[in-house]
Amino acid sequence: MSDILAVVDHRRGELRDVSYELISAGRGLADATGGDLHLAVISGTVERFAEKLDREGVDAIYTVDYGEEFNHGVYTQVTTQLYDKLAPQYVLTANSVNGIEYAPAVATELDLPIVTDAIDLEADDKTLTVTREIYGGKVETTVELEGPAICTIRTAEWPGGEGTGTADIEAFEATIDEDALGSSVRGFEEVGGGDVDIADADVLVSVGRGIDDEENLELIEDLADALGATISASRPVVDSGWLPKNRQVGQSGTVVTPDVYIAVGISGAVQHVAGMKGSDTIVAINTDPNAPIMDIADYAIQDDLFAVVPALIEEFQ
């Protein structure tokens, strides 16, 4: 009971980056427990995926050739069966939209404690210590547990595993109870197309919850006009229907890398930051000094946007 089992993520024919990050996170834990790192790759072109995943520190890769795309029922059944076979100490999955759709079910099926959205993991021979964020990243906590557990890791927190490995790649004969599969994926759809591709913009003025009211967007439009910039937004503004989906920056929207990103009234939730941290220069205007955006920004103004933005527009008139 010292091994680690990490189940990787893929979608529409491609392994997702977090799959390689699971190798780093899993290897780190395996070094701490003195066990092996096993990977599981379920559905899709599993042999091709397994070759790519054979990186330094991976001891074994189990492939399950069943279906093409993620199905939470299949993932739950296979992970449960692999757990029974391998008896790992810890099971790791991605804290992705798909990861959180089966990891909690595995926890229930195996009666394991689950900790989600880990940003750091430490283990000794009996205790797992997990660091996670609460209150939208304003506070960090550690939680501890003893015995086997399942844990989902935040994407882009660990480096991707590198090098070439010598893992044993083995087809795992899972028994899929098809009668128990109560959901089926009919297809995928790209959303958020339209008039503007914010990924092409050199300068983005990005507006968040701090704008308070749809009517106040006019102020942001004036600023964007003055700067010749494109307007983008964080999730709450799009959820409110004030701007269309194609303006949304973040994990579920568009990833942008402009020369200058001006975040106006945006707190900087992790899902948002995932979509803009590659910007060359980041400026934040926010009243809350503890907002995560204030750490990510290169330049920050801790003040009311309704005071600063008009003054900024004035500068260019």
Binding site: I100, I114, S183, V191, I301, V308, P310
Partner: protein, 263 residues
């Protein structure tokens, strides 16, 4: 169709706060209806207004102070509410996913809903796991991060869209009964007026402890323990401009000129 709505009251924290041990003192904390749950409530009420849902029942794990938040769900249109609390919870720092799942499982067994709706996660703790863990525990089907739900429920199934990363949606058919975790933006939650109206106050709000649900007190003993709390280390090299709005706007204007964003 009967809908069970899992409604959470979340803690909010002031801009300036302190941490004492593994707690933030009450003076820095507020309370609010979980943002994701607002959308779940709206979705349930729309199903009720379309005569698809015959009954909408809310369930909340929390102390008496959450009743203000529960009334908000009732004011939006839910028919009745269940609140679960027990002295055993007061001695523990956190209720982990297994504990919440065990509690909600007992409620589902009692209420036998066709559809359970909850928010994807809670604003404060962000576990994001209880809905799916519950579905597996009660042998319901499920879908997580749902941002569209078709209101026809043909052939005993729900037709949903799941919001994946990178602007991609998954179109999925889910057998009923099911648990759906609802993503923000699925609808436009209405403004709730009069949570204190006599009509809302007349709606039943039942309170149960662990024993009432046939559960042992040991359910409260989570296997996951909270051991430390801190403000994240500031590793950033952010330049903070200080001064009046005119001065800070001037600094930013200079930067934008320097970067040739504007002349």
């Amino acid at each position: 169709m009967k809908i069970l709505l899992a409604v959470t009251e979340v803690a909010t924290v002031d801009d300036a706060f302190e941490i004492e041990g593994t707690e933030i003192p009450d003076q820095y904390l507020g309370a609010d209806l979980n943002e994701w749950d607002e959308y779940a409530i709206e979705e349930a009420v729309q199903l009720q207004e379309a005569d698809i849902a015959a009954e909408v029942v809310t369930v909340t794990i929390g102390p008496e102070t959450c009743e203000q938040t529960i009334r908000q769900a009732l004011a939006t249109g839910a028919d009745r509410a269940i609140r679960i609390w027990d002295e055993a919870f007061e001695a523990v720092d956190l209720l982990d996913v297994s504990t919440k799942t065990a509690i909600l499982r007992a409620v589902v067994a009692e209420e036998e809903p066709d559809l359970v709706l909850s928010g994807v996660q809670s604003d404060d703790d962000s576990w994001g796991a209880t809905g799916v863990a519950l579905a597996a525990a009660v042998d319901y089907e499920w879908a997580a991060v749902v941002n569209h739900l078709a209101h026809d429920f043909e052939d005993g199934t729900a037709s949903v869209r799941r919001e994946l990363e990178g602007g991609v949606e998954e179109l999925t058919t889910v057998d009923l009964p099911a648990v759906l975790t609802i993503q923000t933006g699925i609808n436009e939650p209405r403004d709730v007026s009069l949570p204190d109206s006599p009509q809302t106050k007349r709606k039943p709000l039942e309170v149960y402890g662990l024993a009432d649900l046939g559960l042992e007190e040991s359910v409260a003993e989570s296997r996951v323990r909270l051991t430390a709390m801190s403000e994240p280390e500031r590793e950033s090299d952010t330049t903070v401009w200080e001064g009046t709005p005119e001065e800070t706007a001037g600094e930013l204007a200079d930067l934008l000129r320097e970067r040739e964003v504007v002349q």
